[in-house]
């Protein structure tokens, strides 16, 4: 079963003094996230990631389209017992301690009173806040609040967890701990949908990712497949200085170490570079493909969309 099914979901906001202008927040979006997946929702700031999450969670209402989570319509209140959510830069009731806050949320989620205390303690322990349960939240650092935020998202043992920028505000150790926790939740069979603009996290954790820009879905798929779509660079290593000028003329960056020269150039220009080497007496040592990263794919798609935005105002749909 699909954990999230988004069908033509669209949101535009009215702006202007007389509420007579429309500002698109999300262009028609169709996307499916399977149960048990870790799904990364990528995009630069203002791309529409948070708007998508707010639409799914009923905080804002769609202009058009529908969506389902865990097989139920998004306005089904009972479905929310099985959902966990971490907002971006979470802010909590700072008069409460971490224990009190989680107890409050567990009550609202309908956790059995007999299990509540144990679940609250376990959730705090899982995010490394076990020793700070009695600390008032107004005395917590940003990183501690982020951990509490993750704890409240999992305290009621949800099947689907939506995280908006979960690594925000965390130091490198904290980020690794959150990555480990996401992996742990994934191993338990939970579905995790998280938005981020930190691509390294997405590349490490996600089964699949979607790229969003200016409210428009620009690509979706398995990370390795997407990366393969990007035309990569190649590294050429040779000896003999005669060919440097000719290879640099092809747009390559060269580096000399002793009498060994290296150049990284676009794969499309490889044949021209090899010709230049032959003609200028260079001795080829190796040719190695430079692996494209998710960042390369991301930048390529964002670039596409910036170009397309000028010619296509209608928006597009990409089916997962």
């Amino acid at each position: 079963m699909a954990a999230i099914e988004i069908m033509g979901l669209e949101k535009s906001y009215t702006t202007g003094f007389f509420h007579n202008k429309q500002k698109p927040g999300l262009k028609p979006l169709t996307l499916t996230v399977e149960e048990g997946e870790v799904f990364g929702y990528l995009g630069p700031n203002g791309a529409g990631k948070t708007t998508t999450l707010k639409l799914l969670l009923g905080l804002v209402f769609p202009t058009a389209g529908t969506a389902r989570m865990l097989g139920r319509p998004i306005d089904d209140i009972e479905m929310k017992r099985s959902i966990g959510f971490l907002p971006e830069q979470p802010y909590f009731y700072d008069h409460l301690t971490a224990l009190e806050l989680l107890d409050y949320y567990a009550r609202l989620s309908g956790v059995d009173p007999r299990e509540r205390r144990a679940k609250v303690t376990r959730a705090l322990g899982r995010v490394g806040m076990g020793e700070h349960g009695r600390t008032q939240l107004r005395k917590c650092s940003k990183g501690m609040l982020q951990r509490v935020g993750i704890a409240q998202a999992i305290v009621h043992d949800p099947r689907l967890i939506l995280l908006d920028e979960p690594m925000s505000g965390l130091d490198p150790i904290g980020r690794r701990e959150v990555r480990d926790l996401v992996q742990e939740l994934h191993d338990e069979g939970k579905t995790i949908f998280f938005s981020t603009h930190i691509l390294g996290d997405a590349e490490t954790l996600c089964d699949r990712v979607a790229v969003l820009n200016k409210g428009e879905l620009r690509g979706v798929g398995i990370v390795d497949d997407l990366v393969r779509e990007v035309k990569g660079d190649v590294e050429v290593v040779w000896t003999g200085t005669g060919a440097v000028a000719a290879i640099e003329a092809l747009g390559a960056r060269t580096k000399t170490t002793g009498d060994v020269l290296r150049a990284v150039l676009p794969e499309a220009t490889l044949e021209l570079a090899l010709d230049a080497l032959r003609q200028n007496g260079g001795r080829l040592t190796s040719v190695t493909p430079v692996r494209a990263t998710l960042e390369d794919y991301f930048l390529a798609r964002i670039g596409d969309s910036d170009g397309a935005a000028n010619s296509d105002e209608k928006g597009s749909e990409v089916r997962a």
Binding site: K80, L96, R107, G110
Partner: protein, 259 residues
């Protein structure tokens, strides 16, 4: 549902208490003790009248101020700080449950606050009158009416909080309280007008909450009993009026995009 309402109400109460709202009790205690000692010099009858007027007016005003200043932020502050995202987004909490829970939480805060003030007030009356008896029962009715005022103003502040900023909400709430205090006079003026003006004025006079009918402080200060019929009518009026205001608040909040 009851469990969720109670959890939201109790959290609202706890927040108010921890934000030191009950510190106003210290000011109230100083006022009452000061007044009792000061008016102890005056003859017995006037002493009692002044104390009752001062004490009950203080209980009412302190509560109204707290109701407005907390009430106007009940929803707007949660939207601004995004604390309600974690309540409404991923918990089986309906928007109306959030509004109603918040309402009862603040009413609970005001009731506890007024209850503690009332203990101090009756202690002062005991000190001044050298005893408490049946003659003091109307004082309980007056305090009950003050609680009804709190219910009304809390509902109104909460309504404004669902669509307006705290500054405008507080202006609206204080203005409507001030106008409502003169509701009886407004109704009188309306009767003196003619034609369309009379209809419009009557409509406005009955639309504003009638805080005047809930103020029997002067009456009880002079030991005049309050008719049981008035207690029933005022209770029914507040239940219907506050209920209608809450329905309006829920109607607006249900349709609001929480950006």
């Amino acid at each position: 549902m009851i469990g969720r309402l109670w959890a939201i109400a109790f959290n609202t109460f706890r927040e108010a208490v921890r934000d030191r709202v009950l510190y106003n009790l210290i000011l109230f205690a100083l006022l009452i003790v000061g007044a009792s000692v000061l008016f102890g010099q005056i003859s017995l009858d006037i002493n009692r009248i002044v104390l009752i007027n001062l004490g009950l007016t203080a209980i009412s005003l302190f509560g109204i101020i707290i109701a407005i200043f907390i009430g106007i932020g009940l929803v707007s502050k949660e939207i601004e700080k995004k604390t309600l995202y974690t309540v409404l987004a991923a918990r089986p909490v309906r928007r109306w449950e959030f509004i109603v829970g918040k309402f009862f939480g603040l009413v609970m805060t005001l009731t506890v606050n007024a209850g503690l003030m009332s203990v101090g007030f009756f202690a002062a009356v005991l000190y001044v009158s050298h005893g408490l008896g049946r003659v003091d029962l109307p004082l309980v009715t007056a305090i009950y009416f003050i609680l009804l005022q709190f219910v009304l103003i809390t509902a109104l502040a909460l309504l404004f909080s669902t669509f307006s900023t705290p500054i405008f909400s507080s202006i609206f709430a204080f203005a409507i309280f001030a106008v409502g205090t003169f509701a009886e006079d407004l109704r009188g003026f309306a009767q003196m007008a003619e034609g369309v003006t009379r209809g419009a004025m009557t409509f406005v006079a009955y639309l504003v909450p009638n805080f005047a009918a809930l103020n029997v402080i002067s009456q009880v200060a002079h030991d005049t009993p309050v008719e049981p019929r008035l207690v029933l009518l005022n209770t029914a009026y507040v239940v219907v009026y506050a209920g209608a205001v809450l329905v309006a608040a829920v109607w607006i909040f249900e349709r609001r995009n929480l950006k």
